[in-house]
């Protein structure tokens, strides 16, 4: 947390961004498409892990926020293509932030843990069913033929219709928001959130307003999940009720757990790995899920802390400390038995 990022860390992040940015110039369209989906799922996974890895809240219904962003953007681009795309993205963020704030404010003071998780799952399912039933939102067919926008910044107009342009735009937005989230997680707010995850009761005794910070984290997380959805809609150019289905809620969880929830970039690593695996096994008709599942199982068994935990230095416990800790246990047991 207070460790200054070392050269290898900064270098890997920079290298990853460079590789992703250069992709359209040497890789096939299919690869670029997969990478674009991977970028938004990484952002989605990061938003989920702000709750799970940092604050200690499990949301099983994060697809709800993703779908708010996806449908809002799809509707706006279809109905009112003249609206500035940045404004549309801001609207998607704001809409989900309000939803997250209200939901968090209503539920988090009362429920946490598995009860909270189940309730978010239920909320997402209600949204999923509502979307399926809504003719305005295209019911089961969803909204297709979503046009890609033109970015207007004052006198500049940046057309994002081409594959490459929209991909690079997505990359820039993802990098910016990941950077902002990194800053948030590594500063005073991140320290508070991690304290709450470790021990909410102790946190209250150091004067931390636990519920308020949980609601804050939930609001930010909802907003980021929505942004991920908003970026996805013009990329895939179709949204269907599936985006609110629980399978889509499971995706950021899988990606985060695979990459490692205790490392900031764990969810990103997990998302990229899953994307590569899915792409590489796409021709193995029928067995591709089996192969991907097998590899994921292997990773989880070899590195229960996720892929990122393999690269991480373990906190040092010198032998002396462990030794005296063991020695101290004896009188503790002794005193416990004494009346």
């Amino acid at each position: 947390m207070m460790r200054t990022p070392n050269l290898a860390y900064v270098g890997s992040v920079a290298a990853a961004i460079l590789v992703l940015a250069s992709l359209p110039f040497w890789a096939s369209q299919a690869v670029v498409f997969v990478a674009g989906v991977a970028l938004t799922s990484a952002l989605f996974a990061l938003s989920w892990n702000l709750l799970f890895g940092y604050t200690g809240i499990a949301s099983f219904g994060h697809a709800a926020f993703f779908s708010i962003g996806a449908y809002f953007t799809a509707l706006m681009l279809r109905q009112s293509p003249e609206t500035s795309f940045l404004l549309v993205l801001a609207g998607a963020i704001l809409l989900a932030a309000v939803a997250g704030l209200v939901l968090g404010y209503l539920i988090l003071p009362r429920l946490t843990g598995v009860h909270f998780a189940i309730l978010t799952l239920a909320v997402a399912e209600v949204l999923h069913l509502s979307i399926s039933a809504s003719r305005f939102l295209g019911a089961d067919d969803g909204i297709s033929g979503i046009p890609r926008p033109t970015l207007r910044l004052g006198v500049f107009a940046l057309p994002l219709q081409s594959h490459t342009a929209y991909y690079l735009f997505t990359l820039v937005v993802c990098v910016l928001f990941t950077g902002a989230l990194w800053w948030l997680c590594h500063g005073p707010v991140g320290r508070v959130l991690k304290a709450i995850r470790q021990d909410p009761e102790r946190s209250a005794f150091v004067g931390i307003h636990v519920t308020r910070y949980r609601v804050l984290a939930f609001t930010i997380s909802a907003a980021m999940a929505s942004l991920a959805g908003a970026l996805t809609a013009p990329w895939t150019q179709i949204v269907s009720p599936e985006v609110a289905f629980w399978m889509n809620s499971a995706q950021p969880m899988l990606n985060s757990l695979l990459g490692g929830t205790s490392a900031f970039f764990g969810p990103v690593i997990g998302s990229l790995v899953v994307a590569v695996l899915n792409y590489q096994t796409r021709t193995l008709l029928g067995v591709s899920e089996l192969v991907v599942g097998g590899i994921l199982l292997g990773v989880v068994l070899l590195a229960p802390g996720g892929i990122a935990s393999l690269a991480r230095r373990r906190p040092k416990a010198n032998a002396g400390t462990l030794h005296s800790a063991a020695a101290d246990c004896a009188p503790a047991i002794d005193a416990g038995g004494k009346v």
């Binding site: 320290r191 005794f205 400390t321």
Partner: protein
């Protein structure tokens, strides 16, 4: 001198089992006040009633003349009631230093103390310096970078003490600070508590079942037995109180 904490007629039960029966006691500012009693006497419950972790069924708790019965634990902590736990409770995944930093930052936030470099990730220099000072005071400076879960039991107790102190409490409540520590650690902790009271000017409320240490340390003592207050007063008076002697009968030598 008006009491800093005033507990009036507190009654509590877990289910049908009464744990506290109409307990009335008061703590004066600047003193070391000890709550004694055998295991299961209701000491910890009394503590939890005072810190706001459990709400009383009957009775009131006043702090600095104000009724705080309905205040949450967090609000009481912010108002200046700090506490440690029987089994030291610190942020296990944080280093000793990080434990203090997060506490000091929180205090600065809720007290509205000036903070510099709010937008930076690193804690500001003032926070870091204060954290190191607290660690040095507890003799934990060499453990600053050690994760709390790797600290020895005694070191973890000292770290928790430092965390509680860095809240700059008016009243510091210590729940069995000597439980499970070696004899020499007990003396050191006792000296530390006395020093803290003198240097930080805090009022200390302490529970303990090792009565020997307490009678040497406390200014005033209250004894609980089966949820009832059986004696309250100066250590030398309480020590010879017939009811207290009855409770501790057969433990004359080592325990009162």
């Amino acid at each position: 001198m008006s009491p800093i904490i005033d507990v009036v007629g507190v009654g509590m039960s877990y289910g049908k089992t009464p744990v506290l029966k109409n307990v009335t006691l008061s703590v004066n500012p600047g003193e070391i006040f000890a709550l004694l009693g055998p295991n299961g006497a209701g000491k910890t419950t009394m503590f939890r009633v005072m810190t706001g972790e459990v709400s009383t069924h009957t009775g009131k708790v006043h702090y600095q003349g104000r009724d705080i019965t309905a205040l949450s634990a967090m609000a009481r902590a912010r108002a200046g009631i700090g506490r440690t736990f029987q089994v030291a409770r610190v942020f296990q995944e944080y280093s000793a230093l990080e434990n203090l930093v997060v506490t000091i930052e929180s205090r600065k936030r809720f007290r509205g103390e000036p903070r510099t470099g709010k937008l930076l990730c690193r804690p500001d220099a003032g926070v870091a310096a204060e954290a190191m000072e607290r660690l040095a005071e507890m003799g934990l400076k060499h453990r600053a970078a050690t994760h709390a879960r790797f600290l020895s039991h005694g070191d973890r107790k000292r770290l928790e003490f430092a965390v509680a102190l860095s809240m700059r409490p008016t009243v510091l409540m210590l729940d069995e600070p000597m439980a499970g520590t070696a004899a020499e650690d007990r003396q050191a902790m006792s000296a530390l508590i006395d020093k803290t009271r003198r240097e930080h000017g805090v009022t200390i409320v302490i529970t303990e079942h090792d009565t020997d240490v307490i009678f040497g340390l406390a200014d005033r003592v209250a004894v609980l037995n089966y949820g009832e207050l059986i004696a309250q007063g100066m250590p030398q008076d309480v020590r010879v109180h017939p009811k207290v002697r009855e409770v501790y009968l057969g433990q004359e030598g080592g325990h009162a």
